[in-house]
Each structure stands twice: as C-alpha cells, then as structure tokens.
C-alpha cells in the first residue's frame, strides 16, 4: 500500500456510462492481487473531499499497468470520467485482503458477479489461469441485457459464461443465485467447487446461503468454500477510521470475553471475506 501519482494512459467510455481507465504504476501493477482495490482522488480540490475505492479490473505486470472499470454515477465518478490520458492520477493502493486462491487440481472455480460486481472477477480469472490447474466458470447476473458487463472479456479468455437477467432480456430469466444452484446440482462428484462472488448485498446473502447448505440433491452436499468481495462507502480507505464497518465472526476476537461478533473494516480486513466469517442480516 502506497500513495502515488500514476500516469493515465487511457480513460475511455466503453458503453454509455461505463468507462475504463488504464494507468501506469509498476509497483501497484506488480503487487496487486485480485479482490484488492485502489483508492482514487477523483477531484482536484477539497470538494468532494474523500477518495473513491475502485476494484482492480485488470493488471499487466510486464507493462506495469492496471485498469479500472467504473460506472459514471455520482460526483466522484463524473470528475474521474473527465480525466484524460497524459494526466496524473492520485492513487492509494493496492489496498485490502485479496481473494485466497487454492492451486489444487480437481477444483472448479465458480465466479459469480452481479451488476458491476463482475469487475474484480476478471482479474481473478486471469490469476486463476496463471496460478492454478482448476477449471473456471463465470456466472454473470444483471437487471437487464444492457447492464451486463465484461461478458466479451471472459469469452475472449475462452471461459464458459452463463448469463442471468432479472427481466429475461439476456440469458436465463431469473437471479444469478438460481443459476449457481443449478450449476452446483450438475457438478460431477469428483469436482471440488470454490465460489468467488461480488455484487449487491442481497445476492451475496443468497450465495452465502447456498454455499453453507447446497441443496440436498447436489452431489457435493458439504459446505462450499465461498469468498465474497464486500462493497462499502469508505472515508479513509486504509484502515484507520473504522468507518466502513461490517459485522464479522471471530476475526480480531482474540481477547477474552469477546462476544461472537465484532465490527471489522471492509477496507483492510476485507474487502474479501469468506461467507462464514460474516454475520448475514
């Protein structure tokens, strides 16, 4: 984690309202892991004051580059969208606990992304390919066809992609959690699934439920290791302010008399947590 002024190489609108920003910083590119984020100063004066956290979307270590995929939604992202190639980007990063990766064989890595929650999973897919022998499948959920992100990027990497939309305009009509349940039901008995998810809270909650207790008919009835990347507004974004609190079990609960949950920091204790570590409300 460090603060640096990166060179912006491109800041391009891919589809209306969705931008990709690529920046050069060899140290950040070399040290980033999937699930980590960078905390970006979007403005150029004291208002808006706080940085905005963005998941790392892709990394090219050879070229010392990393990219972010973001939607232009509020004051911070509007200001970010106005930055141009050649300008500097004030970044703190990489921040946070990344996805834990199990390199074993016979593992199927199931990536589940809802809406813009798919963004950190592309970097994850790239690293899974480099570091593991397991197979990777991608389940993407969105409200409607036009809101699906990253489908082409996964297909270009020859990864199987299954789409779900709430309104049925693309892929399966329904929630991505239903697609996950069905996928798990059809999994061969000798394959060990691992789930990695990012998206809206309700979706993550549903996935946590599935991972804890896959349906009785599934061939893998035992709980499935499942990691989720948790989203939160942040003030400091590097672990000092305790603003981005999330209820967790056991983590930092070493002192005697500590009850079964505590507030952990999304920014540095997360953003990735095992679903069993979180208190789901």
């Amino acid at each position: 984690m460090k603060q640096s002024y990166c060179d912006i190489l491109e800041n391009t609108e891919l589809t209306p309202g969705t931008m990709r920003l690529t920046a050069r910083d060899a140290e950040i590119a070399a040290s980033s892991r999937p699930g980590q984020f960078v905390n970006v100063l979007c403005g150029h004066c004291l208002d808006p004051l706080l940085r905005r956290p963005f998941s790392i979307y892709t990394v090219n270590k050879e070229r010392g580059e990393f990219s972010l995929l973001y939607q232009v939604k509020g004051r911070g992202t509007v200001l970010l969208s106005e930055k141009e190639a050649g300008e500097k980007l004030d970044v703190v990063g990489p921040v946070g606990r990344p996805f834990h990766i199990d390199p074993e064989e016979n593992i199927e890595h199931i990536l589940v992304g809802g809406g813009c929650g798919i963004v950190p999973l592309l970097f994850l897919a790239d690293v899974l390919r480099e570091e593991t022998k397991g197979k990777t499948v991608v389940l993407i959920g969105a409200q409607t066809a036009g809101a699906i992100l990253c489908e082409q990027e996964f297909l270009q990497r020859d990864l199987p992609v299954e789409l779900s939309t709430d309104d049925g305009t693309a892929g399966r009509h329904g929630f991505v959690t239903d697609a996950l349940s069905e996928h798990l039901r059809n999994l061969p008995a000798d394959v060990q699934p691992r789930i990695y998810a990012c998206g809206p809270h309700e979706m993550l909650k549903g996935i946590a439920r599935i991972a804890a207790n896959p349906q009785p008919s599934t061939l893998n009835p035992q709980p499935i290791p499942c990691q989720v990347s948790h989203e939160s507004a942040m003030a400091c974004g590097f672990g000092v302010c305790m603003g981005c609190a999330v209820k967790t079990r056991e983590l930092h609960c070493a002192t005697e008399g500590c009850e079964d949950w505590t507030y952990s920091r999304v920014c540095v204790d997360g953003p990735v947590f095992y679903t069993t570590e979180l208190v789901w409300e």
Partner: protein, 306 residues
Amino acid sequence: MSNPNLSVEIAGIKMKNPVMTASGTAGFGAELAEFFDLGKLGAFVTKGISLHPWRGNEPPRTTETPAGMLNAIGLQNPGVDAFISEKLPFLRKFDVPVMVNVVGHSVEEYVEVARKLTDAEGVHGLEINVSCPNVKQGCMVFGSSAKGIAEVVGAVRKATSLPLIPKLTPNVTDITETARAAVDAGADALSLINTLLGTAIDVKTRTFKLSNITGGLSGPAIKPIALRMVYQVSQAVKVPVIGIGGIMTATDAIEFILAGATAVQIGTASFFNPMSCVLIIDGIAEYARSGKVSDINELIGKVQLP
C-alpha cells in the same frame, strides 16, 4: 539560511515539530507507518481508548459533506488492556512521543484507564476526550459544561503524573469557559476542536445518512470555526494550545500557530492523502525558511490585530 528550529514543547513533552496526528484518524499507527516513518511526526495521538472494548455504532458510520465529512464511529476500540499489550509495543519502535486519547462512560472509567496507562511503558501524555459527540454516555456530556470537564480532569489529575491534555468540544456556547475550567482542574495543555455536531439526510430514501442520526463534522469546512476558537482559547488560558480542525496544508497549520497554537493535529487530511502529515511538516519548514523565521516558536500567537 540554515534549517529553522521546528521543535516545540507541550507540557514537558519535547516534539521535533509541531505536527501531530489527530485521534481517530491514525488508528494505532500500523497503517500510517506503511506510508511514512512515524518518527517524522511531532507526536502520535492514538484512537480513543476505553476501559473495556467498545464495539462502536452501527453502520453507516460516515458520510461525505461539502468539503468535509460526518462521522459517528462511536469510539470502537479494543480497550486499554489490549491496547497496552497489542498496540503500544508497535508505537514504542518509533522515535515519537505517544499521547493516548482516553475516553469513558463515567469519571471512574477515565480514572481507571489513566491509571493503567500511567503504569504502561511508552506513554508520554494523555489526551482526555471529553468531546466525542457520538456516544450516548460520557465524553461530550462531560465536556459540554465547565462543571463536567472539571470533574473528569480533576479526578484524572489525582490518578496520574502524566501530562494531561483535555480535548475540547466546539459544541458549547463559550469555549473559553470549559477551557478555563479544564486548566483550573489541572490540565497541562488543551487540544481543540473536536468535531461539530451535524447530520445529513438522503432525500431519495428520506432517511438519515448515519444510523446514529447525528455525527461529528470534520474537514476543511470547519477550519474557520476551529481557528476562531483556538484564537479565543489561547487568549484566555496560559497553557499551550494544540490546534485541530480542517488543517489540510502547511498554510492552514501556520494560521493556527499564528492564532496561538503551539502545535497542530492533522485528522481528516490524512484520509484525503495519507502523506498529509509529512507534507505539512515539510511545508512548515519551507515557510519558515522562506520567511526567515529561525524558530517556529517565534510565530506562536503572533497574528497582528487589524
């Protein structure tokens, strides 16, 4: 011109420069130490420490406001015993005075925490937090009246020989009253201001943006108020004053010093840029050099009247 002297002294604590971290914005040092050597600081002030662990408030705990932010963390901290055994050893590694911010629900809790910290190795001073607006019992309840602040400071004074620095709330009619009461009760210095009580509403959901409803406003938005209060208090008392409130740059810090502050604390600016403390220290040195100020102490309270 050779390097100007930036060192200052507060209640017998020698600091190599007037820049300190503000409580609650630097944790217990481990995170900021990834960005710079904590030994560069004038002093390190910890997150508030209570007798027992405090969980803090339910999220959402922070929200951004124009040129500032509201927080209602609720003083989440591991408690004084865990602080001494798990957090303090790390801070001892650095060549920096450590001041521990002390919080409590009752006078007895403040006293007990102060006793334990007095016996611990590597604590140089206690900042008595009688000004946090985000807990329902204690803290600002004490700091809002001359009687309340005198009660806490007086009781802690009897329990410790460590320098005592009450941190004052701006949420009072006349801050010089609580300032005088704290000094009369035995304060060695004063730090001010803590955050201003505020709130924010989301018009889409028609709900408060903080689960606690109210929170403390910090950041550049509060700087003029903080500066005015530092000026008033430094005129009213004879002990050193530590200026806090929206300091983002060395220029801001110099304003506080001219208004009467012997040192300053950097809080929300560290969220804006984790390197802020170092940039401000360097900026103060540069100001002194270019203005031919050989000793920063020459500037304290030297603002000229119109």
